[in-house]
C-alpha cells in the first residue's frame, strides 16, 4: 500500500502549480473569462511547451506516457487556478478516446496536433432529451457508401466554441436508448452541415449547441468498431469523472484555506469569527468533506485501468462523493464569507459555481447513486 507520489509526479505538480500561480492569478482568469474568445491561446501554447498536453500519450506519439495519476495531479493544480482552458475536453476526453481506441492512422493523424497545441477538441455526447443517459441518442449515423451521414442535435458541448474537431456520438442502429448500435465519429467543426450556437457557461467556460444536418464523414472517421461506441464513451466519461474529481479537490482546498483564513481575520463582536464554535465545527465539516473527496479521487484514479464494471462502480462512487462534498464546501464557503462570498469580485463564488457545475457534469449525485447501486 502506497499513496505517495513519485519524484516525477511531485515535480510535475510543482511545475503546474508555479505556472498557475505565476501566470493565472484570479484577475488574469477573469480577464480571460470576459474576453471575446473566452480562453487564452497563448496559455494553451505554453501548456504545450511545458508538456502538459503530452502527459497522457504514449512516447511513440510524442507523449510522456503518463497515467491517471499524472492527469490527476495536473487537474488538481488547474483546479486550484480555476483554469478554463479546455484540458478536460481536448486531452482527457477526446485525446483519451483517440489514444485508447483510435486506429494507427487516427492516432498519427490527430495526436501530434493535440500534443503541439494546434488543435482543440470537444466531445459532443449530450443530447437535449438525454439528461445523463449516455445511450439516449437520437442523432443518427446512416451508412452511405463507405462512410456515414450524420443528423441530429448535440447539447451543452463543453469547449465547443474553441474546438476545431469534435467527437460525436450517433446512433447507427437500434432504438433510442439501446446500448448497442452507437458509433463515435470524428467530425470537423468546419464541415458542411455543422452549425453551432456558442454561449458562456455558469463556471466561466464556453459551450455550444451543435446541429448536424446531413454531415458526411468517411468510414475512417469512426472510432472503434461499428456499434461499440457506447463502451468507449462510458470509459471516456469515467476518465473524465476521475479528472474532474481531481479538479474539484483543487477547488475545495482553495475554498477551505480561504474560509479558514477569512474566519481568522474577520472580526465581529470584538473577536475573530473563527473563535465561534459553531463556525469552527462547520469548517471542520468542510475539511472532512475535502479529505473524503481526496480519498475517493485517489481511489477512482487507481481503478481506471480495471475492468469496466469495477471502473464504473469506482467512478460512480467518486462522483457521488464529489457532488455532495463540493456542494457542501461551496455553499458553506459562501455562507462563512457572508456578503463578500456573494460578490463577483471574490474568487470564492467562482469556485462555488464551478463546483456546482461539476456536480451536474457527467451526471449528478442521483444519477451516479443509481449507477453505483446497479454496478
Amino acid at each position: 500500500m502506497d499513496f505517495s507520489f513519485t519524484e516525477e509526479q511531485t515535480l510535475l505538480r510543482n511545475m503546474v502549480q508555479s505556472f498557475v500561480s505565476d501566470n493565472y492569478d484570479f484577475d488574469m482568469r477573469m480577464k480571460i473569462v470576459r474576453s471575446e474568445d473566452g480562453m487564452d491561446r497563448a496559455i494553451w501554447q505554453q501548456f504545450a511547451e511545458l508538456g502538459l498536453l503530452a502527459a497522457p500519450f504514449s512516447e511513440e506519439m510524442g507523449g510522456l506516457d503518463g497515467g491517471p495519476v499524472e492527469t490527476m495531479v495536473i487537474m488538481e493544480e488547474l483546479g486550484r487556478g480555476l483554469v478554463v482552458e479546455p484540458y478536460l475536453p481536448t486531452i482527457v476526453l477526446c485525446g483519451g478516446i483517440l489514444n485508447r481506441h483510435g486506429s494507427a492512422a487516427q492516432k498519427e493523424g490527430h495526436l501530434p496536433g493535440i500534443i503541439a497545441g494546434e488543435n482543440i477538441w470537444a466531445l459532443a455526447f449530450n443530447e437535449p432529451q438525454g439528461r445523463f443517459n449516455l445511450a439516449d441518442i437520437v442523432t443518427s449515423a446512416r451508412a452511405e457508401g463507405d462512410g456515414y451521414v450524420l443528423n441530429g442535435a448535440k447539447a451543452v458541448v463543453l469547449g465547443g466554441p474553441w474546438a476545431d474537431k469534435l467527437i460525436v456520438s450517433a446512433r447507427i442502429s437500434g432504438d433510442q436508448r439501446d446500448r448497442d448500435g452507437v458509433g463515435l465519429f470524428i467530425v470537423d467543426k468546419s464541415a458542411d452541415g455543422v452549425s453551432t450556437q456558442d454561449y458562456p457557461t455558469v463556471d466561466g467556460g464556453r459551450a455550444s449547441e451543435v446541429t448536424l444536418e446531413n454531415v458526411t464523414v468517411s468510414g475512417d472517421a469512426m472510432i472503434g468498431d461499428a456499434g461499440s461506441g457506447l463502451d468507449i464513451l462510458e470509459e471516456a466519461v469515467d476518465y473524465g469523472i476521475a479528472a474532474i474529481c481531481a479538479e474539484a479537490i483543487g477547488h475545495m482546498k482553495m475554498l477551505n484555506d480561504a474560509t479558514v483564513e477569512y474566519c481568522r481575520t474577520r472580526k465581529q463582536f470584538g473577536v475573530p469569527i473563527g473563535s465561534f464554535q459553531v463556525l469552527q465545527h462547520r469548517m471542520v465539516d468542510m475539511f472532512m468533506e475535502y479529505e473524503q473527496s481526496v480519498s475517493m479521487t485517489y481511489m477512482v484514479n487507481m481503478k481506471l485501468n480495471e475492468d469496466a464494471a469495477a471502473r464504473a462502480k469506482a467512478a460512480a462512487g467518486a462522483k457521488v462523493q464529489i457532488g455532495k462534498s463540493g456542494r457542501f464546501v461551496g455553499q458553506q464557503a459562501v455562507q462563512l464569507h457572508g456578503g463578500m462570498g456573494m460578490t463577483e469580485e471574490l474568487n470564492v463564488g467562482h469556485f462555488f459555481k464551478r463546483l456546482t457545475m461539476i456536480d451536474t457534469q457527467f451526471g449528478n449525485v442521483d444519477h451516479h447513486l443509481k449507477r453505483f447501486a446497479a454496478a
Binding site: 436508448r177 465581529q268 457572508g338 456573494m342 460578490t343 459555481k353 456546482t356
Partner: protein, 395 residues
C-alpha cells in the same frame, strides 16, 4: 383549535383573487426581475395604493387596512399564487412601522404618504464593511453642526440603492462605553451632495446591492427619528419586522408548483423526471417541510392577532423559510440537468441574445446562486440560531 376559513374569509379570497387577475399588469409576468426598471418594480405597488391595499399590516389611521390576520394571510397567499411583485419592502415593511411608532407628527405627515404612493423609494443604510452580523459595530458618524448632521461613512449591501430617493440610516452620534448607545436613526435624501452609490455585482450576475459612500453629507436635524443616541431600539424594532413575512411560505408553494411543472417537462430515460421515484420523493420532502413551516407561521400569526408581537420565535421562520427557498432553487436547477450550465447574466442580455435550451431552464442557475444570499441577509441564519438559543432557550 380550528384552521378552517369562515365564509367571510372565502368571499374575501375571491375578491382578492379577481382583483389581482383583473388588474395585475400583464407585461410584468414575462419580465425577469433583473431586467425590470424602477417603473416596472413600482407598477403594481401603485395599483395597490390606489385600491388602498398597499400596506395591509399598517393601522388604518396611517393608510393601512382593517384586515384581520387571516385576511392578510389570504392576501399574501393570493399575491404569491399570481407571482406579483410585492410592494417595495424598505418603505412599507421596514420604515413605515418605524415612523408611525417612533416618528413625530411632521415625519408621519411627509414620510408615510410617500411610501404608500410609491413616490419615495427608500433604501436601508444598516450594514457596513465592519458591521454585518455585529450591527452595533457601525462606524458611520454623524456630527451635529448647528441644525444639520454632517455624516461620514460607508454602508454596504444596500439593496436597490441605485433606485432610491431616500435612505434610512443608522449613524453613530456618540461614542459611548456601550456600543449600542450613541446610535441614531436618520433619514437621508439620496440627492444630497457627498453621496456616491457604487454597484456590487453578485455571483448570479445581478445588480441588486450597492455600496453607499457618505462624505460630509449634510442632513437637516429634523430628519432624526426618535431620540438622538437611542436609535438602537428602533433598529431592533425594524429588524423584528423585517423577519416577519420572511418565511415566504406562499411564494415557496408557488415555486414548488413551478418545480413540479418543470420536472414534468424534463425527460429522464424517455419519461417525465417527475415520475422518477428519487426526484418526486425530494419534492415531497420539501412539501412536508413547507407544510410544517406554514403551520408554524399560522401559529405565530394567531398569537399575533391576540396581541402578542413577533417574538424571537420569528427567527424560526427566517431560518426554515430561507433553507426551504434554497432547497427549492437547488432542486429546480437539478431538474433541468445539463441545461443548468448556460450562463446568461442579466447585465449582458442584449437584443441579439438567443435563448439556449428549453425555456423552463432559463435563469434557474442564476436563481439558485442568488438565493444563497437568503441565509446571509437579514441577520445570518447563524445569528438567528443565537437569538433562539439566548432569547427562547435561555442559554
Amino acid at each position: 383549535m380550528d384552521v378552517d376559513f369562515t365564509p367571510e374569509d372565502i368571499a374575501f379570497r375571491e375578491e382578492v383573487r379577481s382583483f389581482i387577475e383583473e388588474n395585475y399588469p400583464k407585461h410584468l409576468g414575462s419580465l425577469d426581475r433583473g431586467d425590470m426598471t424602477k417603473e416596472d418594480l413600482l407598477a403594481w405597488h401603485k395599483i395597490l395604493h390606489t385600491k388602498g391595499w398597499v400596506a395591509p399590516s399598517w393601522p388604518a389611521e396611517f393608510g393601512g387596512t382593517d384586515w384581520t390576520v387571516t385576511q392578510r394571510y389570504i392576501f399574501n397567499e393570493e399575491s404569491a399564487r399570481h407571482g406579483t411583485i410585492p410592494p417595495m419592502p424598505f418603505g412599507v415593511q421596514m420604515l413605515g412601522p418605524v415612523i408611525y411608532t417612533f416618528g413625530n407628527q411632521e415625519q408621519k405627515d411627509w414620510v408615510l404618504p410617500g411610501i404608500l404612493s410609491g413616490k419615495d423609494w427608500w433604501c436601508q443604510g444598516y450594514s457596513e464593511p465592519g458591521a454585518g452580523s455585529d450591527l452595533a459595530a457601525l462606524k458611520t458618524k454623524a456630527v451635529l453642526e448647528d441644525d444639520e448632521y454632517v455624516v461620514n461613512g460607508h454602508k454596504i449591501w444596500t439593496t436597490l440603492a441605485q433606485h432610491a430617493d431616500w435612505m434610512f440610516c443608522l449613524v453613530r452620534t456618540t461614542s459611548g462605553e456601550k456600543r449600542q448607545d450613541g446610535i441614531s436613526f436618520l433619514l437621508i435624501d439620496m440627492k444630497t451632495p457627498g453621496i456616491t452609490v457604487r454597484p456590487i455585482i453578485t455571483i448570479d450576475g445581478g445588480h441588486e446591492v450597492n455600496e453607499v459612500f457618505l462624505e460630509d453629507v449634510r442632513v437637516p436635524a429634523r430628519n432624526l427619528v426618535g431620540e438622538r443616541d437611542k436609535g438602537w431600539t428602533i433598529a431592533k424594532f425594524l429588524l423584528g419586522n423585517e423577519r416577519s413575512g420572511i418565511a415566504g411560505v406562499a411564494r415557496s408553494k408557488k415555486a414548488i408548483d413551478r418545480l413540479r411543472e418543470i420536472a414534468r417537462g424534463e425527460l429522464e430515460n424517455g419519461g417525465p423526471l417527475l415520475s422518477s421515484a428519487d426526484f418526486s420523493r425530494k419534492i415531497a420532502e420539501l412539501e412536508v417541510d413547507l407544510t410544517a413551516l406554514e403551520y408554524t407561521e399560522l401559529r405565530t400569526l394567531a398569537a399575533e392577532s391576540q396581541g402578542q408581537g413577533p417574538g424571537p420565535e420569528s427567527s424560526i421562520l427566517k431560518i426554515k423559510g430561507t433553507e426551504i427557498q434554497q432547497r427549492i432553487t437547488e432542486l429546480t436547477m437539478e431538474a433541468v440537468g445539463n441545461y443548468a450550465a448556460p450562463w446568461v447574466p442579466q447585465l449582458d442580455v442584449g437584443d441579439n441574445y438567443l435563448a439556449i435550451g428549453p425555456e423552463q431552464s432559463h435563469g434557474v442557475s442564476q436563481t439558485y446562486f442568488n438565493t444563497r444570499k437568503t441565509s446571509i441577509y437579514g441577520g445570518s441564519n447563524e445569528i438567528q440560531r443565537n437569538i433562539i438559543a439566548k432569547m427562547v432557550l435561555g442559554l
